[in-house]
């Protein structure tokens, strides 16, 4: 597949990432179990009349999407593709609680309408008046990667020239507490906080003046062990005529749980001499947290600089051309994403 070009990358996360003037310079560390997103003034992105029915995830998604388009100097993309693991959980919780509280009576329409997984993609399209291809992928920890893969395919098949892809998830108020309790019962639980965020990227078929990185390859697979992951990564790189030695940095979705052994396996073998990075201590763990990793990687290529807070080892490279992202959750929904300079 031909590479596709990244023309803008926007992040709303638990760090101050929406402001493009710095790249992870003054980061926040988290003591508690939640890493809530830093919200911008949404009135600059959405009219108060439109925003009054929108939950956190929808507002974050629209703001990130609009800024991504503005930075790419693109008015309307040919396609909008969104990934989300848990959708609009805030409104789902509100609607389900209303069913319980009111004994299945007096159900109001707003939270029901807004509770579907494709609300973010739909609201972005409504805001932009974009009637093009619009799909939302819900594939657990591979939701964002599924959206990117679809975007890549559309561009490759010449069905679109520009695509807006993104990932968005919100913390909500209730389910997250059950997830925290369930995780606490694990022998080796997730140690990063749980987070939320919205990340959007403008992609194009051809290289533009504002293109700063390219997606060379992406692979999603469901199963791997600490042993087989080494073979899988070598096979993946082989498809692009690369070896592990050609990788200038590896970005790992480590979250502290028992399945970090998959990352460790690569750190101790194939990528022993490669700069190793992590990011979930900054954004928290959530189904589309890997989009924060993608944003981080695109920015490393753009700035040719790795912020100290990301480093797992002290190895440096003179330049960062090929960077590999590897993410998985609980030993499932694995993804390799290969970004390159352009």
């Amino acid at each position: 597949m031909q590479p596709c070009y990244i023309n803008s990358a926007v992040s709303i996360s638990a760090q101050d990432t929406l402001d493009n003037s710095s790249f992870l310079e003054n980061t926040i560390s988290f003591e508690g179990q939640l890493a809530k997103a830093i919200h911008p003034n949404y009135k600059s992105f959405i009219s108060p009349i439109a925003s009054r029915r929108m939950a956190t995830g929808v507002k974050m998604g629209i703001a990130a999407a609009k800024k991504a388009l503005a930075l790419a100097e693109l008015e309307t993309p040919d396609a909008i593709i969104t990934g989300t693991g848990i959708g609009c959980i805030e409104d789902s919780e509100k609607f389900l609680n209303a069913i319980l509280d009111n004994d299945e009576e007096f159900l109001t329409p707003t939270s029901f309408i807004q509770s579907t997984h494709n609300t973010v993609g739909a609201q972005i399209a409504l805001t932009l008046k974009c009637k093009g291809y619009n799909v939302t992928y819900v594939q657990g920890a591979a939701s964002f990667e599924s959206a990117v893969l679809d975007g890549q395919l559309l561009l490759h098949e010449n069905e679109a020239k520009t695509v807006l892809v993104g990932g968005t998830d919100e913390l909500g108020k209730y389910l997250i507490n059950d997830i925290i309790l369930a995780e606490a019962a694990e022998k080796q639980p997730i140690t990063t906080p749980f987070g939320e965020g919205a990340h959007f990227f403008s992609l194009s078929q051809s290289k533009q003046n504002n293109s700063f990185a390219a997606i060379k390859g992406l692979k999603i697979f469901n199963k791997a062990t600490a042993e087989t992951i080494k073979i899988k990564v070598e096979d993946f790189l082989k498809e692009y005529a690369l070896t592990t030695e050609n990788i200038d940095a590896i970005v790992l979705g480590k979250n502290g749980d028992a399945f970090d052994e998959l990352y460790q396996s690569l750190q101790d073998s194939s990528f022993k001499s490669t700069p190793q990075l992590h990011y979930k201590h900054l954004c928290g763990e959530f189904f589309t947290a890997s989009a924060f990793g993608f944003w981080t990687t695109a920015n490393i290529i753009k700035h040719q600089h790795i912020p100290e807070v990301l480093k797992l080892n002290t190895i440096k490279k003179s330049s960062y051309k090929n960077i590999l992202l590897y993410n998985q959750l609980k030993g499932q929904q694995h993804s390799f994403t290969l970004l390159t300079s352009c």
């Binding site: 109001t108 329409p109 309408i113």
Partner: protein, 85 residues
Amino acid sequence: MDALKKELKESIIEQLNLEDFTVEDIADDDTLFGDGLGLDSIDALELIVMLDKDYGIKLTDPNEGKAVFVSVEVLATYIAKHRTK
């Protein structure tokens, strides 16, 4: 009646997420739909549910709804006359 109007304004602001409004911003005779507060058909459904839940009033005739939701003043008068709780 004044207490009911205040209660209604608070409910409208809360239920319809009119974040930028306060009770003082809504006059008793402000039009709720169209040029006034700018409410729409989804808000109408929210208000119908609110009447049923909070005051035990079931609105089934759409034309009746149109007349009832003209303003807070009209709505309060209607509730005072028809409420069952």
